[in-house]
Symmetry: C4
Subunit: 276 residues, 4 copies
């Protein structure tokens, strides 16, 4: 099929350098709908990643319990308390450039209500974790991005994880083309499939990422890059590339075994330096 | 008009070096009225900045929710719970040397009540964020400093943001002279306008600052410097200069994209070293 | 008796290197039952240690108060609120590969109920701190590991601490063989005794570890290593070795006096690097 | 009078090196009674300092609000909720080796009740901040240490701060001899006065310490050193020396202006290394 590896040189050509005259509006406001009392950290990890990836402003729709946890570590973001419920009720903040839904969420009824509201907005949407199920997507000009790991993709497609892993490129591409969404099929050599049939393969990252929370970090990077993207394709490929590159940067001097999802965000500062 | 660039050499001449015989009273107690449950981090960022900028003592008037978040990261400060309400009720702590009002605040009625109380105090006042609106200022010997970004200055003046940006020097100066307040008009090349018509232009900082929270950090630095200022003009110009210089120090080795408002405060320790 | 020193070369031969194709499931999900409102930090320390030791996923069964504290520092884990009670009621999460019970717990009735439930599961169990008392162990294929310091071992055996310290090898071995459990008898030169009569002695670590919380860190490392162990003996010996080696790494450049239990986890990243 | 400067060589001779065979009991359990909802950070700072100064175990008697804040940063300690009230009611934990009372406390009735209970215990007592007032001390074999800054010493003695500063040695010594307590009169060149008339003068530290919270850090260091002291005099002099030396270590590479009380504790790890 129509695939190619996304390389460092591709990132170099397409990475959005910071504009000297920019103000925070230049980089857009992102909305993150994530986190429950049982999984507050997932929202923290995605929020930290979005901030370290240069988002202009970030609003986190989550529980009060999770808000307190997030704010201590990511004071740069603001909150919508009882956020999933608020979004489900249609109370969507203005001037949002993109939204990500799913990390740490479990209540399918509320998630679906929230998505219904967000599908009405003229913004790109990232669906991850709790927002990934067998689902019909609305017709929409702005892109919808789904970011399953193989197990989640199995649920979305009704197929076996093992079968998906045998045909990652074809499976991702078929879903992307059939549903008119962008698929980020995660795991070693993450596959990015676009509705037009084109495919990118990622070669960065290592097994230090095989650990809870690293997917939440990717969701945050995606949210930031998409919030100020000129070109959605390179924004997504760069997010996946740099997420892995940050893990590789860590393991130059430290053990993969000890890498945490938050380290991926913290090391972005050094990895991105080479592309500015 | 009557402007000049504030340079490193100006900072070197005017920066308040620490006095060997000092005690914490030497550097004054600042009052920060900031933070809500939806925006607790703004108060955290301003508090951290004030402490890293050498304030003697800091009292934060905020919500209990925000207090818990701030105390974990800035244990050096103390709290007035339900602080905005307490200040609005006239319960102002004694021996305050300066106050900053606004980051993370939204309730205009309470903000105005609190300001009315603070205007009675013989101390310099910094108005930022939620405290910035079209407003009449009282006659007062001690300086009032307003720190709008262009969008906030548009609201304060009733003009269009684009028009303000075309005439930053003139617009800031006219407002400062007309209202007898000091204007810090933020954004690339921040303009500082004094009621006597003089103007300073800042040349430090970079687009890494184009991100939520960096303004709160500036407010904290201003509060610290003003709390122990001999000369208000250089105190303000130095705060703006060093805020930007800290961002520039970061980006010598790390990506602007990843700079966070709290990093600006943390890097001050290295930047200020050169001026002590 | 049948003992030998566990050496760096033993670690080198047996340490589980990260597999390039791994996903988080490869490294298993651990369950940590730990922490009360009076001792929330013990659960935090064990959770941090488990994550830094490469566990795939971690679920912490604890109080809501402790959850908030843990999540801010270890956002990578998830929670079961009122976790000790939930486990005691038999609500055990699925797909757990190993469990550790005890740090920061005091309620013996609930601990015993929780253990009764966990003894039914086909998983290795680590018993530490509050879970260590005079106790009969069930017949079980999967290993039970007890990790007493000499004072706790005295309670478990009804002997005097001083007598235990005089015969550490024999005492640990007799208990292990008599009760068919693995004994990690802590303190300088930790002794690991297996039911088959074999014994390992550890030679890493220093008196910086003589401080509250370091035992909780060991429990977390054990939980991680055991969750993905091929060979339980080397998993345990490596955990003990690396816990001490991390303390020794710290004291190459910093004072033993200042070493904290959380530092042991943070320095694992550097220590483990040599074994990957 | 009978004074001398406490030097680096004195510290070298008297500093308690870590004993290879130590366990946490070797270094004693300390009790810290400190912190309110308005000043939770003071307890955090003292707790952090005690842990970084090698205390074996630390129990913090404080409010639930403050406990949550402390535990996130100092997970190595444990808590007595509503601790001031509990101690005032005579519920004193067993096996305490020393106690410190005062940072962040304001309620004089409760403080006095708590002190009455603690005066009955056969342990050294440190009185700081809220516990410093005009007071009669009980006859007691174990030392009582008071740690006022000049303003607090003025309150304790009924004299003017300026007069105290003119005769720091004599004033401290007269109080120590008259009241049979050890006086640590803080500020540049802290004076330590013993009931036997001997006096030590400290020469470390700098004006970076002239900032809220640094006194709480000293209290924590004192608590740790006194909990395992052979010789109370050198324990106190070393605590004061090393507190200042840590501030001096910071300012070799970073600005005094930016030094925070928690940095003093964090840098102890490097400063103490030279004495182990
Ligand atoms: N063995 C591996 N090599 C490279 N990347 C990995 C590996 N395992 C997991 N990842 C990445 O880590 C993240 C895991 O996401 P999640 O499963 O949602 O937590 C994804 O971005 C994966 O692509
Ligand atoms: N492109 C830029 N170059 C330099 N400084 C900037 C830039 N964008 C924002 N800032 C500064 O960042 C802060 C933003 O404040 P606020 O808009 O209130 O968050 C102000 O101090 C601005 O001057
Ligand atoms: N003096 C010492 N030398 C080496 N390891 C020690 C020493 N003291 C304590 N430890 C270790 O520190 C941990 C203390 O566990 P616990 O008593 O449960 O907090 C155990 O792993 C001990 O083996
Ligand atoms: N100018 C200074 N030089 C040296 N040490 C100082 C100076 N100012 C304050 N300190 C120390 O900082 C601490 C302040 O304590 P407190 O006033 O209780 O917060 C004491 O240990 C003082 O000795
Ligand atoms: Mg995921
Ligand atoms: Mg602002
Ligand atoms: Mg223990
Ligand atoms: Mg004090």
């Amino acid at each position: 099929s129509n695939w190619r590896v996304w390389t460092e040189s591709d990132v170099r050509k397409t990475f959005n350098k910071r504009k000297p005259n920019a103000h925070k509006g230049t980089y857009g406001t992102g909305l993150l709908v994530a986190g429950t009392d049982e999984m507050p950290g997932s929202a923290l990890l995605a929020a930290l990643a979005a901030m370290r990836s240069g988002i202009g402003k970030l609003t986190v729709a989550t529980t009060p319990f999770a808000s307190a946890i997030i704010a201590a570590k990511v004071p740069e973001c603001t909150f919508i308390h009882n956020g999933l419920e608020q979004i489900a009720d249609g109370k969507i903040p203005r001037k949002i450039k993109a939204a990500a839904v799913g990390p740490g969420l479990t209540d399918q009824v509320k998630i679906n209500k929230a998505l219904k509201q967000l599908f009405e907005e003229k913004i790109p949407l990232i669906l991850d974790a709790g927002a990934l199920t067998k689902r019909e997507y609305p017709m929409k000009t702005e892109p919808i991005i789904v970011t399953p790991h193989p197990g989640e993709f199995a649920k979305m497609t009704g197929k076996m994880t093992a079968d998906i892993q045998k045909n990652r490129l074809d499976e991702a591409s078929a879903y992307a083309m059939g549903n008119e969404v962008i698929v980020v099929l995660k795991g070693r050599n993450t596959v990015i499939a676009f509705p037009d049939g084109s495919l990118h393969i990622n070669v960065t990252g290592n097994a230090g990422l095989a650990k809870g929370g690293t997917g939440d970090t990717l969701t945050g990077i995606l949210l930031a890059f998409i919030s100020s993207a000129n070109d959605i394709k390179s924004a997504i490929a760069n997010a996946v590339y740099l997420h892995g590159a940050s893990a590789d940067y860590w393991s130059e001097t430290r053990a993969e075994t000890s890498l945490l999802a938050s380290d991926v965000s913290e090391n972005l500062a050094f990895v991105l330096k080479a592309f500015e």
